[in-house]
């Protein structure tokens, strides 16, 4: 087998559990909308539904978690670091969500 000697496996020293989000039913719901409705939805809420459709390989997130650098709050790799920024997330989630006043969670309101 020999795979246990592979150098990249040394880094993986802890197991990571990742919550899978179960988006299948959201996908179905979204597909109930026609072309026109989907366009209207994108206009009002950005790309959040399209993002839901992205198939996530939990394997990738588990590998990424091995590189999280807690004191620096970023992902440290061999010779570089990556930090997800507010701007990048704004782009990923679509414009109508970004460029506004940020939402600050202040505890629960009674509804």
């Amino acid at each position: 087998m020999g795979s246990s000697q592979a150098p990249w496996l040394k880094k993986r020293f802890y197991e990571v559990k990742i919550k899978s989000l179960g988006v299948a039913s959201l996908k179905e719901l979204g597909q109930l909308m026609g072309q026109l409705q989907q366009q209207a939805f994108r206009k009002a809420y950005g790309k959040i539904w399209d993002l839901t459709m992205a198939k996530v390989f939990t394997e990738a997130i588990a590998s990424l978690a091995q590189y999280y650098d807690q004191p620096l709050r970023c992902f440290t790799f061999g010779d570089f670091q990556l930090t997800p920024t507010v701007e990048e997330f704004e782009e990923i989630l679509g414009c109508p969500l970004g460029g506004r006043k940020p939402y600050l969670f202040l505890g629960f309101y009674t509804s």
Binding site: I18, G22, Q37, A54, L64, P84
Partner: protein, 215 residues
């Protein structure tokens, strides 16, 4: 909405099934505006602020209200929750990573793979990227070097810069539904450029973290 509230593992929220059933009823009646609102609430609960399985919790409903009524952006809160879940994972070995994984995954793929076509839309580029499916992630991340990272994707062209500080403090504070956390882009650039200015700035670079006991 109050009537449908349930408590699961000490978290109060509306069951996902109820909302889905309601959305289906609205779709069959061609009531698209309320349908879209409920679909958005579901996406908020399931994808953007995931917490307890099968439940859209109160924090999510609050974030949705802020977005819907007060036009506030949930991006900062999503990012804060993301850093928070990774931080918790480091502290406690058994903790699970619960965050908006699709966004994180899209972000990761956008940096790691270079594509021949430079897409303007990040998601479009993500869908057309076929290499990600064949990748052995452990091997890929271990062998990745700075020069091969996609530092400047097409969608960033023409942008003016990024937020790296808050007032005099050289870090970006983030407030999420499960706690507050900050990140320090300045700190990273200083370290990576081998600069030793850090010593003098240390006090203000201190991290702060407030964890909420609700989660």
């Amino acid at each position: 909405m109050d009537r449908g509230k349930q408590v699961e593992n000490g978290v109060v929220g509306v069951p996902r099934k109820c909302l889905e059933a309601k959305a289906r009823t609205l779709a069959s009646q061609d009531e698209w505006a309320p349908f879209m609102d409920i679909l958005t609430l579901l996406i908020f609960g399931v994808v953007l602020f995931p917490n307890v399985e099968g439940l859209v919790d109160q924090a999510t409903i609050d974030a949705f209200h802020a977005f819907y009524d007060r036009k506030e952006s949930p991006i900062v809160a999503i990012l804060a929750d993301l850093y928070d879940t990774f931080g918790r994972r480091c502290e406690k070995n058994s903790a699970r990573i619960v965050c908006c994984t699709p966004a994180l995954y899209v972000w990761l793929v956008s940096h790691l793979f270079r594509q021949e076509v430079r897409h303007i839309c990040l998601l479009e580029g993500h869908h057309s990227c076929t290499k990600k499916k064949e990748a052995n992630w452990d091997k890929l991340l271990a062998s990745k070097e700075g020069v091969s990272v996609n530092w400047f994707p097409r969608w960033k062209e023409g942008r003016t810069g990024i937020l790296i500080s808050c007032g005099k403090f050289p870090n970006v504070p983030l407030m999420g539904t499960s706690g507050c956390i900050n990140y320090n882009p300045v700190c990273h650039t200083l370290i990576s450029s081998g600069d030793h200015l850090l010593g003098g700035m240390q006090p203000s670079l201190d991290h702060f973290e407030v964890l909420d006991t609700h989660r």
